[in-house]
Symmetry: C2
Subunit: 239 residues, 2 copies
């Protein structure tokens, strides 16, 4: 199924849109698309959806400039906080973000940080933006680990999204997720080789001055750095 | 393929979400879902996406009350106006809405009133709302005529959207479009038999006090009423 999310043996060129959250995965992806793939013009698109903090978006803006994108658009999807309040702990007003140790095993198929239908919403808005910008390739940082927690980070999900977008008769879109097959530690290695400044990325779900070190994404990030045999350049309140 | 968008020979009950624009199709659909299908609780969801006027949403609110819905949510998706400005004439700041007579034949495969990827965006947001509300059926007023103009109003489009949403392991969603096989004149007949007050629906793309009578949707609406052998209860500036 690999051919469905990475395009093998095909020359690709021209512009593209990259979904950029400001975390490690999408930041590495952005620099991969501009430096390794040499795509141009590259537009980055980020989403404000009522996250508990602005750090992620500040990092996204910094990385977009560092990568020399032609345009960085932040889309106000703050309606998501109101819309899905009962369904998630990731947005303002939702329940408290739990420590990973407190999450019961059986809940991991839809973890407490899951936002209902988030990736379909973000990809559909990014596709609209790409269409209006006359760009036809979307790059999206879904990666293997997320598969275990989120139904909307799998190869099958991506394939079905592409089936929808290919039907656009005037402006067919294609979503690619070249990190899909990689572990987070491998993404760190890839980013390091691209010169990514990981001090300017943000992962923590909580809104502190420092990353907390105990929420699910902090734990995941710390584990990945350990597996990569390198030291995370950001500081943590606790770990 | 009919079974893909209308569910035949299957008992359905319980709650549902209806996408409600305030036009004739989605209004008829709402009353069909509450009265004919007897679904409850019904939530209606409407979208503010920078339409040129508020008339459509006022009609949606009136119809939601008339149908006795448990909740009517208007989602602020006004980012769409900014995001897709170059791509459409339907939102504020876009180019002028043309008269149907001025649209060249070859342009009809993607008409000037097309909003990039609109229906995928609206359905994905409606699905998130349904998931957060613990409802699993979405009703959507796509109908046959739109097929000719919009790639995102076809049975194949809907089937592919359902393939995406069925993958949600905890909260699988299903979109149904029971009007898909009907002509607009048949929808008028259906609505009339349900007692729908069509004076409280709005179709015109322009923002005048009265419907203009000459834009593509006004022409389509007037033709449908003529085919139904009935008189449209709204007044027009010109026709």
């Amino acid at each position: 199924m690999k051919g469905l999310w990475t395009v093998v043996n095909e020359q690709q060129s021209g512009g593209a849109v990259v979904l950029l959250s400001g975390g490690m995965d999408s930041t590495t992806l952005l620099h991969h698309v501009t430096k390794t793939l040499g795509r141009a013009p590259v537009h980055a698109v980020s989403f404000h959806y009522g996250q508990r903090h602005a750090r992620e978006l500040e990092c996204a803006a910094w990385q977009a400039t560092a990568a020399g994108v032609a345009e960085h658009r932040v889309v106000d999807m703050s309606f998501m906080a109101e819309l899905v309040r009962e369904g998630t702990s990731l947005v303002e007003g939702g329940s408290t973000v739990p420590d990973l140790d407190d999450v019961p095993e059986h809940a991991l198929s839809q973890p407490p940080t899951y936002v209902p239908n988030r990736n379909m919403m973000l990809l559909s808005v990014a596709a609209a933006y790409a269409e209006a910008s006359d760009l036809h390739d979307l790059f999206y940082g879904a990666q293997a680990h997320d598969e275990y927690g989120y139904w909307d980070c799998t190869p099958a999900f991506l394939e079905s999204i592409n089936t929808v977008l290919a039907q656009n008769r005037a402006e067919p879109m294609r979503v690619q997720a070249p990190l899909m097959g990689l572990k987070k530690s491998e993404i760190i290695e890839m980013g390091a080789s691209l010169g990514v400044d990981f001090a300017r990325t943000w992962s923590c779900y909580r809104g502190g001055e420092q990353a907390c070190g105990t929420c699910p994404t902090c734990v995941e990030r710390l584990n990945a750095w350990e597996q990569a045999g390198q030291t995370d350049p950001i500081s943590y309140a606790e770990h």
